[in-house]
Symmetry: D2
Subunit: 332 residues, 4 copies
């Protein structure tokens, strides 16, 4: 870590910084530049709080040289991590194909969809039970009953299941769920992350709407720091100035994450696409970019879906897409 | 609401949409354009789920004409709302000046700061007890004990207090807190919003990092729809491409919110400034733009603050700023 | 076009708007909403200036229903446009593979690269002669001599050539160039667009760093309105809050443009990748998303390139990538 | 400049980088970190091309420690620069108040406006002659005749004048113009910047829609590197995800520029406001933030303005605003 020191700062002003470094077991080297006074901090700098360094009067600026995530980073763990969920796996060459409706609506609906996606090639079943909705006037999900129906359908067809948790208090309801999804608005819900770190289940961590890749990896670090290493990252589109779609799918996050981290990363093309018709090209792009899997909205009757129907594939669409995804994977 | 119909859609394809409108008590008028087939939907359209309309096969596009927030909007409530908190008030000409440390650290620290900011002109005391931190390795706050010390200091000096809640389960701990703060990462934590709608306390709702003003008002709508009308909005900087500061303070949100809504809006210039030195110009800009108040980091010893010291004002800085804020308010 | 009228506006206030519509041959229909007064403007509304409508005192808001680009839009021209450049073609199933160095440096360098990319499968040769550089201290290109060497190399190996123009005054120097490239910073250089509209050469129009897809199509409209229909659009990455790469490649722009417009769209993955290693996954993603071509930096000695070496492929990299691109195209 | 070296790079791989440094007169110091191999490059590093360093195989990453603008930076020139234009001045305490219509329309219109803004307190007259318009179907300005009428009106009332240049070829037409405006879309039109560097007139340089403050200062550096030091910077709103207004006025750019640079910075609140009603609060915010001036749209008949009427103040609005601006300046 390079700390730029103000040109006119005195030894007295520098002293509190040096003491702070000493207390944290950090070695301080003086070095110099053409027009710069600077210090090189050596040691376990990823755990230093940047803002504390910046608070010292003598400090002009700070440059981090090491990434602040050490467990999630590729440096300490060069080979790909593989997360196994029953019959399914993701990472290190294993591709995860998650499909199902935006919302669990009825027993028949989720079972019919489960059968259809299983047949078409899905390796995991999804279905929303708690739905984060912009408007208080929109359908909010079947909640506890939704989880029960999802788990039942998954067992019936032989697929592990995933659904989204909204807050810590719901955790006991997720006992039979195979993978817990942390949604985009909860990526930095640190209370939730700390709790999930202690549960013995894989976590699908969706990137926040306006989170940098580094912040996604820092949220994974929260989970890993307390003992949960079964993490699947998910790119789902970020917020940009472009308005033709609701979100901009950041396809480059896939190869970037693969360079920086050993964790598997899958892609949700549906939020970014916003419309059924745009889902297949984005799903294929994600596959070609090297994603470790996809998570897709599939609904047997999109026009009457209680949520997300506009971007849901029909089972037939899904089947056609699966064949192309498989073909593209063969080319890489 | 204007619904653009696909040129080649048949009556059969149109039928499900018409039935949906009928079921929701919406009147449908046919209208036409130069190259367009379109329907004008009349009725309580703000409560319609846009995505459901978009899911119908016959629909090309939808244009909302009425804002989706009706309780938070200025239309139904033309005069400014005023929120009263003990001796303090905000909105309709009353200015709220919240000050205190980023984190409650010790009994002495919070009491000393409380005295200093009260003397300088603050009308409410703040102090973080639960801290959302990017890194799992940073100071996470005194938690329950922090709330106790904050409340005690507020009572001692005669200031109402505000602190941030992280999740629903913490709500019982906030019994003695005067205003509950919903942080930027929780603006769309809908479980939390629904719970706070039922508590009898004013809520400070911070704009999300990447939330549009319309979404901020929709989150306020969540609180109001279930009965809590004491809402104070807060602009604190949004995420943009600019990197010289961590966030870009969106000063125009102040007059925009005042046009669209009757709710008071205050500004937190500290996150946007990122550094002590930039806080005063941004605080004055917010005041000149017509904000109903400010929330500021003040610490008696910023160099040794356990969090946020880099952007904290000293009590002397704060006192000097208060005088200027007051003078600028006199010019408007 | 729907114009929302202020609730309290009088007939006198409405009059200037009605007269403006009449003068522009626009029919005005009164229509109504639940809480709204509104007018439906019917006629050649894409050519109306939205800001002029907004300037009328009686107007609250305006909603455009028709896109403002009529020539570039798919509506008036349902089938794909194909642009032919000598032996190469792009659009309607034809794939354009442009390759070459960021800068033309020497006669040997450009000729050697031309031979290598031709052999590997490129259908067009690129090479920068005028270079837009952030810093006044960086290499600015060989300029006129660069164009001469590029054209000569293209003829030698039998490939059409493309290079970037910086301003109108340079146009005479481009007489022997086959396709003129308008760079990202010039996408809204309207003087240049008007001039290029009259030249008889295909134009490659790169999307602006912060331009919406609609604005890209409006810039194409500038060229088409004055008679040049040979336009190739290019997505090259947009500016977002993400900093791990310089730009975020907006892969969804490919299927979106294909839906809204009949013009071909190619992708430049190199600026978005920023580094050699990330170019192949992004190039394959673009291909899988349905792009009509790619434009790639290829340099025989990237470490000693005078510009863009960090993101240039070697001829061997390029050849390996071409094989994969071809395989992925076969899966779509 | 800190260069992080790949862990496994050999001496042979390092050699080309070391030679490059030597050729550019840069001293290379070996230094080290906990898990890092790194080099400290000392010398005139602001002029090094970052991308060239990144192109070397041995290089993992580069951290710039010195800003790449040396002439525009505050470091080499600690006191504020003052730009003088006839009777007007800007910077170092002098406030510049530029007002006039978006477009020069007729001799009467510009003269009437000139008289009105002069009387209200403007210190410079503006008026668009060449207009950059999104749509080819919108009014494009009176062009050469517009400049003539503007200059004539300025002389008549005794105000220096400013108008926007679109490209290098127009420069001879600007002989009688006092300040040349470079618009937001031309901030990185480097051919234009190089030409303006040699003309003996002050330049108003507007920040690009998606340009970082550092890039604005680099464009100023272009002008200064070739000899023009009379530069006025202008913040006018940036492109973000927020859509309630067209642009987000980045008010923090004002104090940030004042910290990083000695150049004066003024604010254009009209583009960011988008509507007349929002201009005054944003103008006052800019003033309170410490701006050195304002540039405002003023039109005697906004409803019939040929451009920009929706955001133009009337002379009466302008006069009222001037009084408040003056009062706010007195509080700082």
């Amino acid at each position: 870590m390079i700390v730029i020191i103000k040109q006119d700062s005195t030894w007295d002003e520098l002293h509190p910084l040096l003491r702070y470094c000493q207390e944290n077991g950090i070695e301080v080297q003086e070095t110099y530049g053409f027009h710069l006074r600077m210090l090189n901090l050596v040691g376990d700098t990823p755990k230093l709080d940047l803002d504390r360094i910046l608070a010292f009067d003598a400090v002009e600026n700070v440059h981090r040289l090491l990434s602040p995530y050490t467990l999630a980073g590729r440096g300490a763990h060069p080979e790909d991590s593989v997360v196994r969920i029953g019959s399914a796996a993701v990472g290190g060459g294993s591709f995860l194909l998650i499909a199902g409706p935006g919302s669990v609506e009825t027993e028949e609906q989720i079972l019919e969809t489960a059968r259809a996606v299983k047949q078409a090639g899905a390796t995991m079943l999804r279905g929303g039970a708690y739905k984060p909705r912009y408007s208080p006037y929109a359908f909010q999900g079947l909640q506890q009953e939704g989880i029960r129906l999802l788990v039942q359908a998954g067992r019936e067809v032989g697929l592990p299941v995933i659904t989204e948790i909204m807050e810590t208090a719901q955790l006991p309801l997720f006992a039979d769920v195979d993978v817990i999804q942390v949604g985009t608005r909860n990526m930095q819900n640190y209370e939730l992350l700390k709790e999930l770190a202690h549960c013995k289940k894989p976590v699908l961590l969706k990137r926040g709407l306006s989170s940098r890749v580094e912040e996604l990896l820092l949220s994974a670090e929260y989970l890993m720091a307390d003992g949960n290493a079964d993490i699947i990252l998910c790119e789902r589109g970020i917020r940009t100035f472009e308005t033709v779609l609701n979100y901009t799918l950041d396809i480059s996050a896939v190869p970037v994450v693969k360079e920086l981290s050993h964790l598997p990363i899958i892609v949700d093309p549906c939020h970014g696409a916003g419309r059924r018709k745009l889902v297949p090209p984005l799903a294929l792009a994600a596959t070609a970019a090297g994603a470790d899997g996809l998570i897709l909205d599939v609904h047997c009757d999109p026009q009457n879906a209680l949520s997300d129907g506009h971007r849901a594939l029909t089972p037939a669409d899904f089947q056609a897409l699966c064949a192309k995804v498989s073909a593209v994977r063969g080319c890489l």
